[in-house]
Structure formats: C-alpha cells, structure tokens
C-alpha cells in the first residue's frame, strides 16, 4: 500500500513536468492589435469601427473573418451586436437606436469591442468613451476671400455649450487620401475661422468637397462635417482623340502624305515594268503569229 501511494505521488508530481513540456511545445499565440474607433459623419450617422490586425516583420497585417463583439456602456456592458472582420480586418457597426447610445453620469457614451480569441490568436479588447459634439461648418465668401467658419457645441445638462481648445482639421478629399488644408484651434466661443486657398483645383466643373473634422479626438472621436461647392479651379483635362503625334494611334498628316506619295511613285514605276513585260509577251505572240502566217 505504501509503495503504491509513493508511486502515485511520484507520478502525480511528475504530471506538472509533462504539462510544462506540453506548454513549451505549444506555439506562441499571435497577439493582435485591436482598435475601436467612433465616427460621426456629416449626416449625423454614427458608426463604430473595429480593426483587428497583427504585426509581422514590422508590417501590419489584417486578421479577417474574425468575430468581434460590440458592447455599449462603460461598467455595465450590454452587447449591441457581433460582426465579422472583412479582408482588411475591419468591421463596422452603425449605431441607431437610443438604447445603444445611453450616456453615463458625465454625458459620455462608453463603447467597447472584444475579440474572444482562438487557438492561435490571443483575445483582445478595446474601450473608448465618447462625448457627443455638434460640429458646424459655414463656407462663406467675405470680401472675395473664401472663409471657413467652424463651430462646435456639446450638450451639458440639456444646454449647449461651446467647445474650446480642441483641434479641428480642414481637409479636401482627393483620389487616394485627404489633402490637409489647415489645422485650427477652437477659441473660447467654440469658433475658429480660416481662409481657404483660392488656387486649389476642383473637378472639371470646379466643384470640391471641404471637410472639417475632429480627428481621433480623445473626447469626441472622429466627427466630421463636409460640404461640396464650387470653390475650386476647373480642371478639364482631356486629350482629344483626334490628336496626332508620334505616339498616338493616328499618325501626323504629313507622314501619311509623304509615305503615300513615295509608295505611289515607286510602285507606279513597278507597274510600268510589269506592263512592259506583258507588252513583250503580247508583241512576241503577235510576231510568232505573223511568222506562222508567212
């Protein structure tokens, strides 16, 4: 009995060793980077975006097809919904009802997104707290100078108060990215005014879009206001299809004429030679017929 119990104790004490070896053989899990962002666009549509990526060889690669859970509320979390990341590792959720947008004591909204993890990837979590802000942008021409006036207000206990000291950035969206125009700081009255450059190209009608936004603001998230108007220079760039050059489909006229004249001249002479041959044949046949008759 004693031997049996000693044996059992020995084996039991060795178990951790086995399990340690099991652990050491295990592949180290990928540690993902999860980022939750809040967006409010110009139509007051509110969107939560979570991106799930990981780092490999100093490059950031997306994790797609992973399930992300969105929660609202800071301490008492309430599941809003779940979503699956796309091929860029991003999943978006539009916040619609008031249930999702329940503010806490400071008038702040809490959101979080979680990734539960799987066999190869660790779990991750990201939390943000957002305060709702109303951003206004007025585009006016004052003394022939294009002026942008930006105002921001938050609701505190039911009343609107201006936001001051925060940075608002002005952009013009371009084909691949946003072109920064200027960065403004809101004054005490929550206002900032700046000039818009008059030499910026727009589209072919001169239209361009101007965006004023809070960018990754710790309190407000990403809030933007955009407007399209004719504040740009017209750019109508089109190469007419009838353009003739060395590198176009149709050749310059002088080339075609020169070539035609040369070819016509030379092959015309060849034709003369061929006709001569035919004439020789005809002449010889005529001669042969004459001789035969004689």
């Amino acid at each position: 009995m004693k031997k049996l119990s000693i044996f059992a104790i020995l084996i039991l004490s060795l178990l951790p060793v086995f399990s340690i070896r099991l652990f050491s053989q295990e592949v180290t899990k990928i540690s993902p980077y999860i980022q939750l962002q809040y967006f409010k666009n110009t139509d007051d549509q509110r969107i939560l975006q979570t991106s799930l990526t990981y780092s490999k060889n100093r490059m950031e690669l997306p994790l797609s097809g992973m399930e992300i859970s969105f929660y609202s509320g800071g301490d008492q979390k309430r599941l809003i919904t779940t979503g699956v990341t796309d091929n860029k590792g991003v999943v978006r959720l539009e916040l619609k009802s008031d249930i999702e947008l329940k503010s806490d004591k400071d008038g702040m909204w809490g959101f979080s997104s979680e990734y539960k993890g799987n066999d190869t990837i660790d779990a991750g979590k990201s939390e943000i707290t957002i305060k709702d802000v109303r951003l206004e942008m007025a585009l006016t021409v004052i003394d022939t100078i294009k002026t942008i006036t930006v105002k921001a207000f938050t609701k505190v206990n039911g009343t609107e108060k201006p936001v001051s000291g925060e940075a608002v950035k002005i952009y013009v969206p371009r084909m691949f990215s946003l072109l920064p125009i200027s960065e403004l700081t809101l004054d005490e009255s929550g206002t900032a005014i700046t000039e818009f450059p008059s030499d910026l190209p727009g589209n072919k009608d001169g239209n361009l879009t101007i965006i004023a936004k809070f960018e990754e603001n710790p309190t407000f998230g990403n809030v933007e206001k955009r407007e399209t108007l004719k504040w740009g220079l017209t750019t109508d760039y089109s190469v007419p299809s009838t353009h003739r050059a060395l590198w176009t489909k149709t050749a310059p006229r002088w080339m075609i004429y020169t070539l035609s004249v040369l070819l016509a001249g030379v092959w015309g002479h060849y034709l003369f030679a061929i006709i001569s041959l035919i004439r020789i044949r005809i002449e010889a046949k005529r001669k042969a017929r004459e001789e035969y008759k004689i």
């Binding site: 371009r174 691949f176 089109s238």
Partner: protein, 322 residues
Amino acid sequence: MKEIVKNESESDRSSRRNFLKKVGIGVGAVSIAGIAGSSVLAASKAKSGEKIKLLSPDGTLVEVDKDDIKPASEIVADLKEEARAGLPNRKFSMVIDLARCKNARKCVEACQEGHLLPKDHEWMKLYLLQDDIHTAKYWFPRPCFHCDKPMCVSVCPVGATYKRPDGIVLIDNQRCIGCKFCMTGCPFSARVFNWKDPEVKVPEGHVYDPETNIPATEGTVGKCIFCADKLRKNELPRCVTACPMGVIYFGDILEDTVTNGNETERFSKLMVDRAGYRYREELGTLPSVYYLPPTQRMFPVESGLEDTDESIKGRYKNVGPR
C-alpha cells in the same frame, strides 16, 4: 485618415470588374442586366435552354441562360478597351523623395509579388548613383516614367504599347511581337523582356487584362504600369504602400495632390519647396515621375547596403562617376 462613406458607383464598377476577371467563363455586363430584367439580349437570341449557375456581384446565386454569356475573348476585348480608355479626367504622376530612400527594396518585392513576376524581373529598379566624385551618392528608385512624349510608344510597330489619356503607358502582351524596339527606344532602361517562359502560377480562371499584365508572357516586354488595376479601385500602387520610409508619393496632379499613404501634400508646393526635378529633362520625353533631391539625409547612404543580400550588394561595387 480613412474615409468611411465610399462612392457607391465606383465600388460597384470595381467589383463588377473584379467579378468579370475572376469568373473565367466570362459574364458580360449585358448579361447581368439581362438577369435584372431588361433582357434585351435575351429577346434577340433563341435560347438554348441550357442554364448555368453564377454568383452575381452582390453575392446572390443566379441562373443564367448559356446564350447570355459572352465568350472570354469578348471579355478580354472589353477589358482591353477599358484599359486603353483609362480613368477620365486624371493625370497620374509620381514623386520620389531621394532624401529618404535607403534601399529597403520593399517596393521591388511588393511589385514582384503583386504582378507575379519571376525574381529576376524588376519593374521597379534601385540604382546607386553618383554623378561626380564631389557630388552625393544616392539611392535611385526607377519605375517606368510614363513619359508624356514616350519614345517606346512612338517606335512600337504594332501598337502593343500605348499612352492613354490619364498618363499611363500600358502594354498589351497579347499584341506584342517581341521586336524589342521599345527597349532600345526607352532611354531609361525601364523595360524588361521575357527571355524564357517565366513559369509563374496564374490564379484559376484569370482573364488577361493589360491593367494587371498578368501573367508575364514569353517573348514579350514588361514594365511598371503604375498599378493601373489598383488605381481603378482608388488604391495606391503597391510600391507606394510598401515603402517603409514613405519615399514614393503618388497622385492625380490635376488635383494637385500626391500622397505616400501617410503624408498628403500639394504637388505644386512639394515641387517648389523641395526643388523637384525630372531625371534627364533634356532628353525631352517629359517623364511623369519627379524626384526630390537627396538633401539633408537622416541617415548615411551606406546604410542601404547593410541589410542587403550579398547577390544584390555585388551590383553596387563599381558605383561612381562614369
């Protein structure tokens, strides 16, 4: 910063294009309209009655009469026509900041990966140049310059390479006869030739499109195409996004904007502030690639040789004034 709201019609167009290319048997746009109900094509042909199941762009499974499907050759012809037309009202240019380049070669690798190139084909090539013993050495990334007066296009006898209105010079590898006149015409050695079968694996059902130029074909010419397929999706070329130093800026200069993925600048301002120039301006080919001089480097030129493969380091043994 990323844009959330995408232009709906643009994404539709690009997804349809991708759909066209992925489905090897080829479904024409007319056929898809036929599914939706206008059925002009369907009415004009007697149906064979044979139906084929296809996945439409919005992810629904549809049944299409076999007569409504266009043959792959027509699809390729459509793609080629689109490739010749280009993107309307755009003029693409690149700006390369020589002060930042340190021969990381990520641009070369991303380009080779994206276009399924064999390893000895480099559409983006890195030179180490020194014009005079007293002037600075600098790393010189050289894509195709997509010249506004392209010598390569002028000398092509069959029109296999062409300049399109948005500035990009493309190659139609199904028309190229491999005479290599364009290679002797280009003063910048931008073109490579497929001397043997490149032996690359092409994805299933892939349809030839000059905007991706996959696969490389034996006996034809290849070169940088400013990733025309990505531009259709409003995405930057592969070398631009791959560069860890943000060396390459790209943009539509009609909008006067270039970006390297992180920084966006006004093209005109960048040129004036940093004294941009074009390589060998005097040759008169009017390149679309501008260079910013290698002033005020943050790291020495030699650091570009540190992490490089031995086989590549050997290229730069005899660098110096010629």
